[in-house]
């Protein structure tokens, strides 16, 4: 037989693969049918950019400034592109993008320890039922189902080490974990072996496809589909490795985003989103300013401001802001009271986050805190409210859909919470 297999012929049904994988983890009838759901959402092609500022960004030095008050600190508030909304002067460029953004100033959550808080917040702090909930990113990839990018659905760009991170997936099972690019670098074995040419690689894949085609005759297609799927994803990732090659970024972009870690990683995140990765998480560390909060925030917040504003602006210009949900947040805020080391400590009682993009109203600031910033003055929102809101923004009805954890029905987000309608389009 001549080598005429077109790779398209062997492109597997990703939806089917996902269905199989789901059946693998859940023995009972699934309440949530990813295949049906994916079909419904196919046209929307929603994506998520989740920016995690690990350690806790100070709301007073960012989204909820209280200048000239007891705990306000030295920084001023500046007007933004939306009349009436002010942010800290440490966010000068982001202020100019306010027409795209939605700030939430009335978060009130439970946990004030990092070790548990990071997990708790990113899992949406559901009721404790003895199961480990998925992080938001894993939940989204499961709920939206695969898109047509051929790229891994959930990518995590972070400093330090990378690899396949299963922890995020919780009870969804390791296949919903993230593929982490440590310091933006691709995972192990992504580079083609030096002895193997492109031509050879292509031939090998054709031989593999021939063998699988032959084996699949008369057999249920689940195994060959699943196996074919991971090979084509691997190859896709290898062929698009220029995605991770920083030398191919335009000098103008590098300048606009900044040459520091967060700037480089945000620029990489933009590329991943443009390439179609469904969920991109970007981590920045070192926000735990127990000492010298003001000098710390001066450098940290401005280093966030530059690439964040650039990215929002770029997404808006490219028309991607209608499909990408952007969230920037930490595990909690910081105490209004300044401690003896000129620092601020952990404060889950009243803090802020910023969001933008798909399904989210633009140019608004929702909720408020007391005059000195200590308590939430409007209706307090727990992280469960945010999860419901984000799911809604992505077109997922989080009140009527349930997870199926091996027959155990579980709410997508905390059942005592609801979507915040004033944040939604």
């Amino acid at each position: 037989m001549p080598l005429n297999c077109q790779s398209d012929q062997h492109r597997v049904s990703r939806r089917r693969w996902l269905g199989t994988a789901a059946a693998g983890t859940a023995a009972a009838l699934p309440l949530f049918d990813p295949a049906l759901h994916a079909a419904a959402l196919q046209r929307s092609a929603k994506q998520v950019l989740f920016i995690w500022l690990d350690g806790g960004i100070s709301q007073l030095e960012s989204w909820d400034p209280k200048p000239n008050t007891e705990f306000g600190g030295p920084f001023r508030a500046i007007p933004t592109s939306v009349p009436g909304i002010h942010v800290s002067e440490l966010l000068p460029q982001t202020a100019q993008q306010m027409q795209h953004l939605a700030i939430v100033r009335s978060l009130c959550t439970e946990d004030n320890a990092h070790s548990s808080g990071v997990d708790r917040i990113q899992r949406g702090d559901p009721k404790n039922r003895g199961v480990v909930y998925p992080y938001f990113g894993s939940a989204v990839t499961k709920l939206l189902g695969p898109n047509d990018s051929g790229l891994p659905p959930y990518v995590w760009i972070k400093p330090l080490s990378g690899g396949f991170m299963h922890k995020d997936a919780g009870f969804l099972g390791p296949q919903y974990g993230s593929l982490a690019f440590g310091d933006g670098k691709p995972p192990q074995n992504l580079l083609q072996h030096p002895d193997v040419s492109d031509q050879q690689q292509q031939e090998r894949m054709e031989i593999r496809a021939f063998a699988d085609q032959r084996y699949a005759r008369g057999r249920p297609p689940a195994s060959t589909d699943a196996n074919g799927f991971v090979f084509s994803m691997g190859l896709e990732l290898m062929q698009r490795r220029q995605l991770f090659d920083e030398s191919t970024f335009s000098p103008g972009d590098v300048q606009r985003y900044g040459t520091h870690d967060l700037g480089r990683h945000m620029l990489l995140a933009r590329r991943m989103l443009e390439a179609g990765v469904q969920v991109v998480k970007v981590n920045s560390y070192g926000w735990d300013t127990h000492g010298d909060n003001f000098n710390g925030s001066y450098s940290l917040v401005r280093r966030f401001d530059q690439p964040f504003a650039a990215l929002i602006s770029d997404l808006a210009v490219a028309g991607l802001l209608d499909q990408v949900l952007v969230i920037a947040m930490s595990e909690f805020g910081r105490t209004p009271r300044v401690n003896g080391h000129l620092g601020r400590d952990h404060w889950p009682e009243a803090w802020s986050l910023c969001m933008a993009g798909a399904g989210v109203r633009r140019g608004i600031a929702v909720g408020s805190t007391s005059d000195n910033g200590t308590w939430v003055a409007s209706e307090p929102y727990d992280i469960g409210h945010m999860f419901h809101t984000w799911f809604s923004a992505l077109g997922i009805n989080s009140r009527e859909t349930a997870w199926d954890n091996q027959g155990q029905p579980l709410p997508l987000a905390h059942e005592d919470c609801r979507p915040v309608s004033e944040l939604l389009l």
């Binding site: 037989m1 001549p2 080598l3 994988a21 693998g24 023995a27 070790s115 003895g130 891994p152 396949f164 299963h166 390791p174 296949q175 593929l179 995972p187 192990q188 074995n189 992504l190 580079l191 083609q192 072996h193 002895d195 193997v196 050879q200 690689q201 031939e203 090998r204 894949m205 054709e206 031989i207 593999r208 021939f210 063998a211 699988d212 032959r214 084996y215 699949a216 005759r217 008369g218 057999r219 249920p220 297609p221 195994s223 060959t224 699943a226 196996n227 074919g228 799927f229 991971v230 090979f231 994803m233 691997g234 190859l235 990732l237 290898m238 091996q406």
Partner: protein, 550 residues
């Protein structure tokens, strides 16, 4: 201890049988094997007649019997953990004896590679990729080499002893789970849960906090009675080998359901068994061997909960213990449990074929918990020997053979067998450092994450990238040392290359279409024949057919 279970004992009333029950550590075979093996011998037939009933009532026919090649690959992978060498396959296919399948099964079961395979299999099943430890692996290998019965093996795990030296590694089952991870508390609930899951087929997770809401058998007391004993343990610090310390158990555990705020207590108790009294000693009199602060020796209490559990959980009177082994051995051979999930044995989750489960569990008990005779019977059943080709038209369970995931260990051994010089590896040889690294890389690429049981075939991007690009696989394709690549390169006739290639890698003869494919490809790549041969080997190694037992 006899108060734990109604003493139905094993089916024989022989003295040795009773002795084995009373003196659990007495390492002797059951002499009633003779009378008992009659039962075991009948198991294959019994399974087939029961399954035939399910076919008949569904008006379905069983699928065709596997051909000899399909059977040889399947049973070799299952019983000795690798594909057959091309020479072994040829010998089997050419064997004139009509009983050659029985002979093959017996030959595989008596091979030293079988005990290694069993050690690997149970290592993965019991430790669920939490790493490994030389003493633990040594314990498993010695145990399976000596055909230790499952009840004895479990007893040694549940109440590990520091002597004799060959079995002290059993403690690692507990000590590995007691290791602290970060700032989290020692995971006593996890250890308790794993004992229920792995030895009784009962996941009592929900029962930690309340009676299970939907499973009536899983009450909170089932979890708490076992937890009472195991949360009293710690890792011994005074010795270098894995060893468990036990504090004196002086009082019952208080617990309360998260739903009904009512205080309850329980003493040591095997799940679904009878609670045991805790004998009271005067302060200072609790120890049979006193602790020694100077050496950090934790002492040995007079009343030991571990001993109590070890003497009363893994016994034939505990039906769930036998059913769990029956279900897990069935899973090993058939790729699915009679009860699924494997750790959800309870009255509301009946087996797909309850009589089959009962028959296998009876045989397990009758065989004195020896694993080999059960595997033998399962392998000799018609159900096991059905072809998996055509499974797309399966209407009734077990009409066709089923696909089974290969472990990282099976994959590595099979890659080496397929690509190597065709010589049989000597089992039990210790690994060089490079071989050890290679084995670890395979586990990293193909194993599940720690704590996650390896059940169904679940290809991953990580594994695909490993197969695509890792030097460890590429080096197998380089011709040299009489390996497959070199041998194939020396053959001029393309049809003969195809024949050798398929026999070595996929353990079967290629059909006409495949011979044509290989010949055409080699014809087109005459300029780079060696490279093309490497590509062919790679293509088959990466195929789903190679990656599965089917």
């Amino acid at each position: 201890m006899s108060g734990f279970w109604r003493n139905s004992a094993c089916s024989g009333s022989s003295l040795l049988c009773l002795l084995r029950q009373c003196l659990p550590l007495l390492a002797v075979g059951c002499w009633c094997c003779d009378c008992v093996s009659v039962t075991a011998d009948e198991l294959a037939q019994r399974i087939d007649s029961l399954l035939q009933q399910s076919f008949t009532s569904a008006q379905a026919e069983p699928g065709p019997v596997s051909d000899d090649g399909e059977f040889c690959r399947r049973v070799t992978l299952d019983l000795i953990g690798r594909i057959p060498a091309a020479s072994e396959l040829a010998a089997f296919l050419g064997h004139p004896d009509p009983q050659r399948r029985v002979l093959l099964v017996d030959q595989l079961l008596s091979s030293p590679e079988h005990s290694r395979r069993m050690a690997d299999l149970f290592h993965v099943m019991l430790m669920e990729r939490r790493g490994d430890h030389p003493e633990w692996l040594g314990f498993l290998r010695t145990s399976f080499a000596g055909q230790k019965p499952w009840d004895q093996l479990v007893r040694e795990i549940l109440d590990p002893q520091e002597t004799p030296e060959q079995i002290r590694g059993a403690a690692w089952f507990i000590t590995r789970r007691l290791e602290k991870v970060g700032q989290q508390d020692t995971d006593y609930p996890g250890l308790t849960r794993d004992i229920g899951r792995l030895f009784l087929g009962c996941d009592l997770q929900c029962a930690q906090c309340h009676d299970h809401l939907t499973i009536s058998d899983y009450r909170q007391i089932e979890f708490q009675g076992l937890y009472t004993v195991y949360r009293n343990t710690s890792i011994r610090k005074d010795v270098k080998f894995p060893a468990v310390a036990e504090q004196p158990l002086t009082k019952k555990t208080d617990f309360m359901s998260v739903f009904e705020k009512q205080s309850l207590t329980v003493g040591p108790r095997v799940p679904f068994g009878v609670e045991q009294e805790i004998p009271q000693y005067e302060s200072g009199q609790e120890f049979a061997v006193a602790p020694d602060r100077a050496t950090n020796f934790p002492g040995v209490p007079k009343f030991r909960g571990l001993q109590l559990i070890a003497q009363s959980l893994p016994v034939s009177a505990n039906r769930r213990f036998a059913e769990n082994l029956a279900n897990r051995l069935w899973f090993v051979m058939f790729g699915t449990g009679l009860v699924n999930p494997l750790d959800q044995l309870h009255d509301d989750n009946s087996a797909t074929h309850p009589e089959v489960l009962a028959a296998v569990a009876d045989a397990v008990t009758a065989a004195g918990f020896r694993i080999q005779p059960i595997l033998r019977e399962l392998a000799l059943s018609q159900a096991y020997q059905r072809s998996s080709a055509g499974a797309a038209s399966e209407r009734v369970l077990y009409q066709y053979g089923r696909e089974k995931r290969l472990s990282a260990e099976q994959l590595l051994a099979s890659v080496l067998m397929a690509c190597g010089d065709g010589d049989l590896m000597a089992a039990g040889d210790s690994l060089s450092e490079a071989e050890q690294k290679r084995a670890e890389s395979f586990v990293k690429a193909f194993g599940n994450i720690p704590g996650e049981p390896e059940l169904e075939f679940s290809p991953s991007l990580k594994a695909a990238l490993f197969v695509l690009n890792d030097p460890l696989l590429q080096e197998q394709l380089q011709p040299g040392g009489g390996n497959l690549s070199e041998r194939l390169a020396a053959i001029a006739d393309n049809g003969a290359v195809a024949e050798q290639l398929y026999r070595s890698v996929l353990s079967r003869v290629p059909d006409a279409e495949e011979v044509e494919f290989v010949s055409d490809y080699l014809g087109q790549r005459a300029d780079a024949r060696r490279q093309a041969i490497g590509n062919l080997i790679w293509g088959l190694l990466a195929s789903t057919e190679f990656c599965l037992n089917h």
